[in-house]
């Protein structure tokens, strides 16, 4: 007889699915996190797959993981350590040993913990738990065998039947977290809509796993995560790269322009090229060219020809695009340059995340070459940030560099499908809008915004020549005249500075009368926010100013900083944003917290450091 099940109610929990690259852990994790989101939990996910494309089966380098953080209150990060680990083989157990808590529950597939499996993961004894010093609760279930046996009447070959073991594991986890299976069944039916037999088999394995859980629950506690009332609407699970792609499409739609993407494959930005090149039904022209330079140059050509043009890349590619960004800048053409930052310098850590391209984005060009720079703060915020990048590019006739990072690009969370009517309009300024008394010239400007008018080839009466040479302020013809050059340098800078009047003011969250203001930008929002909340729960007075608009800064930036005695700028580089802020805000001398490990911040570490600062 099974004992009474012990149900623990938790505010939040971290679950990590881990197995061999071929074990289907990404799908398992995605279904579980979507299921939780549908049930009203907040979610944040972090897929963590190997750099190797096909590592040897069962090896440490072949472990693929998917971590999801779910909760009844706001969830900001995929979580530091797992409460529940599903380890489909010994390698998965070993690789994740540092991602566990002392109280974690570990579910293993006992069928793949034989001598040969242990050898592949370089265990030297036959007790991997003892060898790793683990004291966690272990649920050892013969997942492969049971999944296979349950499918005996399905007429599947051995390999196909065993492949359903991930769904058996998912069923077990669903039982553990009291997730009803009907939604998961629906997802599987959709996923395998063209292979009904496979869909059926997977659903059977899922159900068997769930039932197995309810039959053995004697020794394991189960969890309940209360639902959080999310805003009504339709939701989907989305990662940062997809959100970025959709943000560009939305901006093009709002502006009434065709979207053009010129790109070249580079980790971790490639998904943007892939997503947009699949969007032909929406008329998107997203094309792969011969190199990074061609990617941006075709985009500049498309911009000249009247498209909303973008190029997507990562740090090394941004370096290659520098000269072309300068061209778009002096030609004053709209252009969105997406840099999905990764670990640098040089080839660096291609699959890891950093914030080390900020100064490259701000200053990495010859000459005085100011461009707008904005940064996305969460996977779903990539949509808004890309939308804003498109808006600013078109309305201010300038390149805009959008900084995201590898962590945002691959991480996902539930996203309420936006109503584009609630987004601001995007209004390109065409020469027909020019109202000046002097005849129109390509560099005649709107006197208030200093933005020139966009004459597009094909327009009658506005044929003109532009280029990378300095031009005369009045006639737009080539000019090397010294005073004119000074004036043009000042004008182009002023044009960018004036964007500050068109963006939202900087917000501060947390305690109004805080003793410490945390300042961050970009993809660290979740970790900084959670650190702040954790400190506030402990009675500390802390606030967070997290920047999306980097250049120009929001108009109220200096005013905010003046309010706080202690400010710490936390970022994943050697202090690039802190130094930039010091150059922009006179008398600003913040503390700095910098980590450049290619890994997300660890919340507990942030709390520790910030508390020390507060008490110093």
């Amino acid at each position: 007889m099974a004992e009474q099940t012990k149900v623990t109610t938790l505010e939040k929990v971290v679950v990590r699915f881990s197995g061999d690259s071929g074990d289907g852990m990404q799908l398992t994790g995605t279904i579980f996190s979507n299921l939780s989101a549908i049930l009203g939990n907040e979610i944040s996910t972090f897929p963590d797959f190997p750099a190797e494309i096909r590592a040897p089966q069962g090896s440490l380098s072949g472990v693929s993981g998917f971590q999801v953080h779910l909760g009844s209150r706001e969830i900001f990060t995929p979580g530091d350590r797992a409460d529940v680990l599903v380890a489909m083989n010994p390698a998965a157990l070993k690789v994740n040993v540092n991602h566990l808590k002392p109280t974690s529950i570990i579910i293993i597939d006992s069928d793949s913990f034989g001598k040969a499996d242990l050898d592949k993961a370089n265990f030297t004894t036959d007790d991997p738990f003892k060898e790793l010093g683990l004291t966690a609760q272990v649920v050892a279930a013969p997942i492969s065998t049971m999944a296979k046996d349950g499918l005996a009447e399905f007429g599947l070959d051995n390999k196909s039947a065993v492949r359903c073991k991930n769904m058996f594991a998912l069923g077990l986890v669903c039982w553990l977290f009291d997730r009803p299976l009907d939604k998961a069944e629906h997802m599987l039916q959709n996923k395998f809509s063209k292979k009904p037999a496979i869909a059926k088999a997977n659903i059977k394995a899922l159900t068997d796993g769930y039932n197995y859980g309810s039959n053995i629950h004697a020794s394991v506690s189960t969890y309940r995560i209360e639902s959080k009332k999310a805003a009504p609407g339709f939701y989907m699970d989305i990662n940062g790269n997809k959100a970025t792609s959709y943000g560009l499409i939305a901006a093009a739609e709002k502006a009434g322009l065709k979207l053009f993407l010129g790109s070249y494959p580079i980790t971790p930005a490639t998904d943007i090229l892939q997503e947009l090149s699949a969007r032909k039904e929406l008329g998107v022209k997203a094309l792969q060219f011969e190199d990074e330079i061609a990617g941006i140059c075709t985009a500049i050509g498309a911009s000249f020809a009247g498209s909303l043009a973008a190029t997507s890349t990562s740090g090394p590619g941004l370096a290659l695009k520098s000269e072309a960004i300068g061209l778009a800048m002096i030609a004053e053409l709209p252009l969105v340059v997406i840099d999905v930052q990764r670990g640098g310098p040089s080839t660096g850590l291609p699959t890891k995340s950093e914030q080390t391209d900020l100064l490259q984005a701000l200053y990495g060009r010859n000459g005085e070459s100011p461009v707008a720079v904005i940064a996305a703060s969460t996977p779903t915020d990539c949509f808004d940030a890309a939308f804003w990048a498109g808006k600013l590019a078109v309305e201010h006739m300038t390149p805009v560099i959008l900084l995201t990072d590898s962590f945002l690009a691959n991480g996902s969370s539930a996203w309420r499908i936006p109503d584009l009517d609630t987004y601001p309009d995007i209004k390109p300024a065409y020469p027909a809008d020019y109202k000046g008394e002097e005849p129109w010239k390509p560099y005649r400007r709107n006197p208030e915004t200093l933005v020139r008018y966009w004459a597009i080839p094909g327009m009658e009466g506005f044929a003109h020549r532009i280029g990378g040479l300095e031009k005369d302020y009045d006639t737009s013809a080539i000019s090397t005249e010294p005073y004119n050059h000074q004036k043009m340098i000042a004008t182009r800078q002023a044009k960018i500075d004036k964007i500050a009047g068109c963006i939202p003011g900087q917000k501060v969250i947390g305690d109004e009368e805080a003793d410490l203001l945390i300042v961050g930008w970009g993809g660290t929002f979740g970790h900084l926010c959670e650190a702040m909340e954790t400190m506030r729960e402990k009675g500390k007075k802390v606030a967070l100013a997290h920047f999306k608009f980097i250049n120009p800064l929001p108009e109220n930036t200096a005013e905010i900083f003046a309010k706080y005695k202690k400010v710490v700028v936390a970022e994943q580089n050697n202090g690039q944003f802190a130094n930039y802020l010091r150059s922009k805000v006179s008398g600003f001398t913040p503390c700095k917290f910098n980590r450049v490990k290619g890994q997300p911040f660890i919340v507990s570490r942030l709390v520790e450091e910030f508390t020390k600062l507060l008490e110093a």
Binding site: N34, G233, K280, E281, A294, A302, A331, A455, A463, G468
Partner: protein, 337 residues
Amino acid sequence: MEQTTTYQPKDYKSDQYVRWCPGCGDHAVLNCIHKAMADRGIAPKDIAVISGIGCSSRLPYYMNSYGFHTIHGRGAAIATGVKTANPALTVWLATGDGDCLAIGGNHFIHAVRRNVDINIILFNNKIYGLTKGQYSPTTDRGFVSKSSPYGTVEDPFIPAELTFGARGNFFARAIDVDLKNTTEVLTACSKHKGASVVEVLVNCVIFNDGVHKQISVKEARAERTIFLRHGEKMLFGNDNGKGIVLDGLKLKVITIGQDGYTLDDVLVHDAHTPDATLHAMLAMMSGDLPVALGVIRDVEAPCYDAEVEKQIAEVQAKKPIRKLHDLLMSGEIWEVK
């Protein structure tokens, strides 16, 4: 559409003072471009002239069309973007031997390989003029220049060979001093659908004066060059007394009436044959053989820009979704009430 307006060369000329050196071959080519454009009768508003960096890349400023003077070597990529974004435009690329074949070599071969419908005018003076006299990728081996004071120790590109190597479908050659034929070649280039390369041999009066003089001086031109036209016999020389014949696997110059050769033996130029073997042989003629001018290869093939649009139309014919919101709602979603 029926063409209603006729244009004169002056309609394509801008009001800018032309800043090339007096005596530079580019002046003549510019006039030929204006004439060729008037011949084609395309409205200046529908023309975009793109260029990179170098003497010849100043050209867009002297046109009355839309124009974009870009950065060194990248003209082909920018022109690709312009044409792909709006295939309705007629796109020209003005480039030089350094811009096109050194720093821009990669973009050039890929634009040719993709067969983007752009007209590429390659001004070949075998020297860097704007930086004052360094050797270029088309400079002959051993040439003494400011950056090769003891002569170069490298072989040049032959633009035609590179074009064919990149699977180009249109290649023509012209010489700056021959205005009539240059105009004819540029007109043909503009008519061709796809990446069309015209190498114009131009003189740099300051840094490489007389570089093409062996074939450019009027007295030598008839004997040392041959102007090829599709469907016509390959005849040249004073009174067209000489012809090109195929001797085994090689081309040979014969004099009609000598050694038993008659007019019937002379090859007829077929610019439209897909096989580029003979085109390459003709384009590479030198030494005892005359330098080939005119349209050497002109073969129809699918254009990149049109194919991109075609693919979009094909997908749209199958998928009714046109708005982002509809796309999102058609995916894996759930509702919170």
